[in-house]
């Protein structure tokens, strides 16, 4: 792409009166360059079974063409028409426990149901046939924020058994892998597999989650294949992930079917706006294909399915968020959506235009940003990141831990987010790794939230990474279970024992937080660990901290082991944010990854990248309501926003909720 695309989702069909010219005129005036259309309106594309109508959209497309606005066309399968529900109520989701959903909400269909697939395919093909030659359509979005939606319909139960057959071959293998001798529940043959509803076996539950993920992957791969039959070479297929990483979806697998990945991050605003949500979502989706990506939806004004969380952004926050995305690698930012809706569930999920449909504060800021992008978009599009630190994300571990929670307060994501937030606040650029990733060696430091569920092979790769000189920071419970969420029957932490340099036989919850003896990390009032304590017995590891407790005092809370050329730092307990900061920053420092970025003011963030011309970009963001000043620590260049020169060691001041984007000369 030649510049950053900037636009909105547009639903002219929702307007309470005819105002198409007015809308497109306002878009054009604001400088909007792209709209997404069509994904929500199956009932208009096919108002009656087999009767297709395109004229209503043709006029929209024509006028967008005239206005020079590009189009992303969505396949409209995520919300079925009323006539389809009337004819085939069986395609709607039946949940575990037997509750069948009703018509009313979208995203309520069984993705694997053949009847649903039949109707999907027909509307997709008719739509594509009609629009495939349109020159303004730059790409297709397939479905919308797809997930299996908890479908446990009979065909899903059958599909799951077939999946088990393919994966495990025999029920004897299942009996073994899931330990079905327990409570005498072994299976003689595939007809005895009971429905998932009452199952409490962790291995079984994990496999079911994987099957749900596969339903989504398969459904989107199937849609992508259909669209690819019609797609031109200059067009792309994308899908918009809802708030990834989302445990219900295997974004890694889905991405294989996509030309470019898109995401719909919605972020906190007003005093809760700090760029972290946009950054973590961006870091994750950028890592899926190790490539730039699209933002298909994000906050335009206040959002919410009721009016309890209406938080319109302060002045400057919308624009600041756009550059936050671009710095993370986004090549497009689209708002959801152009105009606020007067009816329905999303009445309070507001658009660039409010309910009065007249330009307001949000429109003015969008317009300012759009015009700025017209100038600087070509300089910042396709920003390339090169990070030294990665987080290893394991969806299986998230589920495995959830099935057997260790705390009501803390879970897998709590730790992952704490680790990310620590790095984010410290201005350390981060990529994500997944168990499938093969590029561990690209990183000097890998940070590992509780890797509770992992195959021997994955653990071996983790250990090798350390052995080869990597610095790994790993949380408790890692290595505890194999890939079937079965606890290992060797001494914990299983295959990690040599790299970790310790073993343990027991662990305990902590009813109350404990201090680390002697406050070794100078955390003061935050010298607190909690919730979980592994009773670690070092083999070769060095204890970094002990519990201040008459019984647990003999067990180290944090250890570090030199293993081969690298180090493995292990957290056997839940750390306070301050302790996590200190532990992680210590490792980063040892790895030589700290510098001037760690001395910026508390609410200033910096991101670095390279543009298409090979020039280095330094994005400084002020996520606060006051101006902030700091010393510029990189090469001479120009602030693209103000067009002022930036010299090394110069003091730069960024206004409230504003940014500086320095392009080195």
């Amino acid at each position: 792409m030649d510049t950053v695309l900037y636009g909105v989702a547009y639903y002219p069909e929702y307007m309470p009166y005819e105002r198409l010219d007015q809308d497109i005129g306002l878009m054009q005036k604001a400088g909007i360059s792209v709209v997404r259309i069509g994904e929500s309106s199956w009932g208009l594309w096919e108002p009656e079974e087999g009767k297709f109508e395109f004229a209503w959209m043709d006029r929209v497309v024509d006028k967008l063409h005239a206005a020079g606005i590009k189009i992303i066309l969505g396949t409209p399968t995520y919300s079925i028409p009323a006539w389809l529900y009337k004819k085939h109520p069986e395609i709607v989701v039946t949940r575990l426990g037997g509750q069948t959903l009703y018509y009313g909400l979208r995203q309520n269909t069984d993705l694997s149901h053949p009847t649903y697939r039949f109707y999907c395919e027909r509307i997709i093909r008719r739509l594509l046939e009609h629009y495939k030659n349109n020159p303004d359509i730059i790409g297709y979005q397939i479905d919308n924020e797809t997930s299996a939606a908890g479908a446990a319909n009979p065909d899903v139960q059958i599909g799951f058994v077939n999946y088990l057959k393919a994966r495990f071959k025999t029920t004897d293998q299942l009996n073994k892998v899931w330990g079905l001798n327990y409570w005498g529940q072994r299976l003689n043959d595939w007809t005895e597999v009971p429905v998932r509803d009452g199952i409490i076996n962790p291995g079984w539950k994990l496999e079911w989650e994987r099957y749900w993920q596969r339903m989504t992957t398969d459904f989107l791969a199937w849609q992508a294949a259909i669209v690819n039959e019609y797609k031109r070479a200059d067009q792309f297929v994308t899908h918009d992930f809802a708030g990834p990483p989302r445990s219900e979806v295997n974004e890694w697998d889905v991405s294989k079917s996509l030309d470019i990945v898109a995401a719909n991050p919605y972020h906190g605003t007003q005093d809760e706006f700090d760029g972290e949500t946009s950054s973590t979502v961006g870091d994750y989706v950028r890592s899926l294909k190790q490539s730039n990506y699209l933002i298909t939806e994000t906050n335009a004004e206040a959002i919410g399915w009721n009016s309890k969380d209406q938080m319109p952004p302060y002045d400057g926050q919308l624009r600041l968020d756009v550059y936050t995305h671009v710095a993370s690698g986004a090549n497009m930012v689209e708002y959801w959506h152009w105009h606020s809706i007067h009816y329905g569930q999303e009445t309070y999920w507001k658009g660039v235009l409010g309910h009065d449909l007249e330009p307001g504060r949000a429109y003015r800021e969008v317009s300012r940003t759009a015009h700025e992008l017209q100038r600087i978009g070509p300089e910042i599009v396709n920003t390339q990141r090169k990070n030294q630190v990665a987080i290893l994300y394991s969806n299986d571990s998230l589920y495995g831990i959830n099935f057997m929670k260790f705390s009501d307060r803390v879970d897998y994501n709590t730790i992952r987010r704490q680790m990310y937030a620590t790095l984010y606040r410290a201005n350390i650029g981060v990529d994500y790794l997944l168990p499938e990733s093969t590029n561990f060696s690209d990183y000097k430091v890998i940070v590992v939230p509780p890797l509770y569920v992992a195959s021997d092979a994955l653990l071996k790769r983790v250990a090798e990474y350390v052995n080869n000189g990597g610095h790994l920071v790993m949380a408790f419970k890692s290595g505890f279970c194999n890939e079937n969420s079965t606890v290992r029957w060797e001494m914990a932490p299983g295959p990690l024992r040599e790299a970790a340099g310790f073993h343990y036989q027991e662990f305990s919850n902590l009813r109350q937080p404990l201090a680390l003896s002697g406050d070794p990390f100078h955390a003061g009032a935050e010298n607190k660990v909690s919730d979980w304590a592994e009773m670690i017995i070092p083999d070769t590891a060095k204890p970094l901290a002990f519990y201040d407790h008459p019984f647990f005092r003999k067990y180290p809370a944090i250890t570090r082991n030199q293993y081969g050329k690298g180090t493995l730092t292990y957290e056997g307990t839940v750390l306070s944010d301050k302790l996590q900061d200190q532990v992680l920053l210590g490792v980063l420092q040892d790895a030589g990854l700290t510098g001037p970025d760690q001395s910026l003011p508390a609410r200033v963030r910096v991101k670095h990248g390279m543009n298409r011309k090979g020039k280095r970009l330094h994005y400084y963001f002020n996520y606060s309501g006051d101006p902030e000043s700091f010393t510029y620590a990189y090469g001479a260049g120009t602030d693209l926003l103000t067009q002022m020169p930036a010299r090394p060691k110069q003091t730069i001041t960024v206004k409230a909720w504003d940014a500086a984007i320095i392009e080195e000369n």
Copy 2:
């Protein structure tokens, strides 16, 4: 009526042993003048299908006659016999989501089910035929605390579609009014209307609520019509509303079928007794037909469906509550009920007699009050109120806001109750207005809780009221939606803009309470607004207060607009109780509605009225455990209770939990 009726609901059929003579003797001795009978005992009236028995009640009626006690006879349709459930389980309510109720609870039938109606009609007619000539029956109560009980049975779904056809004519009109293009859910014809269960569209949900209300209205109108075929001219038809206003019921419409309105208010006791519940219910039901009313049920002793809220009144509270009701316009007070029950759900909903069935503390206080009423009843019956202030109550707005809540802490009723409580504590007599009311001009001040759902016509009448010299105080969100709970697509507050003198395009929740800059209402620690803030831009209105916040400071929190001959004071946010006090009292003062009543001791309330002889009555109530003194500020008269003279400027002392009722000479 010639005097205030005073009595109990009486269930001789619940007694564990024969004691009819004993009971009626005790009633007679206490001075009880009326009982309600029969409404709970269908299974005794018709013990087997088509077999009717009246003898068991005839002897009760005969003995009541002998004792000179009047009778209100209830139609026994709210609790069906076991044989009817066995034969027709389909008449029992199926809730949204598919849960079908079981036998056990009362009020669990589908009011519109023809089978239920068939059996209801037969028992009503047989009962009326048997008792229609009884001279002691002064009136009939139809059913009991009726509501649609969440019935979503198939016939209700069908009835709703028929109702929609009648109201909206075409599905195209529905598509437009409810915005069904949203998510592509438009309807081609009436057969495509899905069941209500999964619907999340606010307009649809509101219409369904209206249909439920109509089911109750229709059912009671149908019962009233049957009873009217038998009723004598000296008899009335009434229905006992449960704790009105009750959002599930349209009391305004139901009242059209009634000769006199009745209500069942249950109030806080002990330290929670302050007369407010009895007063607000009274003010509401008095406003329905602008007429006096009956109290068919209220606390005799402790109440509750378990023993967690057993709070028997302190000495004096029962009697004080009776005069509270009479002062509000009640012409009858009946307790629920004569004797405590030893079995069943209401074991702890105690009667005038406790479980031992011997006279106790409650019986003695009832007896005292009854004998007092024999003396002063004729002086205070039919007390007429003439109030200058009204609250505009909108049930539609309550629902519209609930569908899209703006807070977990505050809702429509929170604001309505705050406004009522402010006026109540300030001793300002209040009527209720409903959207159907045509007498806005009777009032100097109208107070409007969030009028979120309102037709253009209603908003125009509101504006005209101001234009003609009225003083209106209105809460946020008013004017936001039309009568279909659809947000208006003109600048907010829509048709109110000129009268309100401002507009706004945005609004925000407040995560934390904010102060008003400079504490303009001298509220000190209570200078707090919260939850919601409309970003008001004055046209002609004068700001009365601004937010103390860096971003919101530019928007006024409270405004006042002179419009025509009147003023419209607008609260764009949720006020603390103290701020609401100050704002409302300021408007009342400006309207010339304040005086000596606002200087009474904190726990003393006063109400004014006129008796049948045209004499002015001043009721002073001491809702506290200590004696209270104040200066009497009205014309010379006599305290009906003590028979002591009352002179202007005289100091009157009212004992703990006692009253003074001054009749002017």
Copy 3:
């Protein structure tokens, strides 16, 4: 029994690899003398319908024989095989409200279902036939922690009606007993009895609970009868009660079918370990047959169905718990279980061996204890208790109160546990009495939690106990209802009035705790009563305390009545723990039951008994992490653990989490 049995539940069939010799070798080395096997593995005993396999267990049994380890064999009926669910899903529980359970969890079958019974009987008989001659099997456990599991399947509804017919003869009697005239719900014949699901009548609900209890009683009696056909004279039949008293089960009735009672108490560990759970369970089950008992399951290491409550015991706690049980009368202690499981719901319910299957901390402590028991077991087995104080436990009252709760904070068990804890902390040995018990006169003091539901006959026996010289302490609500949970229609407290020496007509909840006037029990900050206050009017009783409140001050909160030769102390309100202490200890002192045991250090407990040789035993337990010293107050003897002599008046020091067991000479 000649010594204390000590062992584990053992599931070789759950092991992830073959290690039978290794396991039994480790058991033997540790000194384990008994294992429980087989109760969880129906699916292995009968892997396909009608195909039975014993070989897998025969080799286990053989090796246990070789190792000299005794066996308890369980009937495996509590967890059905997958093939049985596939063939007969109808035997799985359908709950009230219609929810049918799924396969996955154990203990999910309808105990009264004939199909389930058919399959149960076949597997039991085949198992018994196979193993009946085995010399190592010392006894049989029937089923496992059985309850009716909320089954409301059609056959249960039918069974309940048949039960009602047998108990009440006519529906007219039901109409009377349950007050079905209420809401006109009387029944004409047995076909009109509606299903239980919607019933809210307390009498009906209580009878249903009794029927559920009877289902369990009948099922276990039926199993016991089958086993008795095969059982040798040297073998016993037992059943393991889960955490008794358990309201769903009538342990008194079940025990009639058992030779010896067993229980599965799981206790708090770490800082929550104080011996109370083990003691209260022991005191209860010992009282069922007034005999020694078995502990079939208790904590080996950490427990939990997730990893939120993993609290491995501190060093010493496992051993200390064993002696706690023996002192209470246990003749066996078995852990659940030998090895931690790697799959399934109980992954974190850990065994003597952890997941690594290697000896660890728990194994070492078990081994120490086992070897100690080999030495001292014969001295302490069959410890006989002789207590002077009993608690009267009424399951009916627990339900009756729950149906009509008087508090969200306090219920029947809260009071029962408070009373037990008071006695436990005061080192007063306690037995339990049930309404069926006939030995009231064995006790000097009987303590009575709210005896809300009780027949006239039971209340008469209570009164006679006092009349004959007993000291009774009784909580509020006692005597309020008859055996059908129907409130009595005589003056409260009904048949207890004369013995209690007061009456009351009213009662009230207390919204806020109140003080007792003048702090008569010197409770200081804990001088607080709460939740409930009966408005007691003394006849002959003496008030011990009054409420400090303007209204309630006239009613005594606590009374004592001299009645015949005894006293009845009555608590008309909920006492703080400190007040309960003072009231109970006062009564004990008056009864001459206090002495040196009440002066021990706060965390030291003592229990007394007599061994088989007629020697007195004094068990001192230190439930704390510090050494504790005290003066020995009994006859000269020897500490069995240390083999040190103990002289009267000598100071004994017990180490942290340790015990002294003095056998008098």
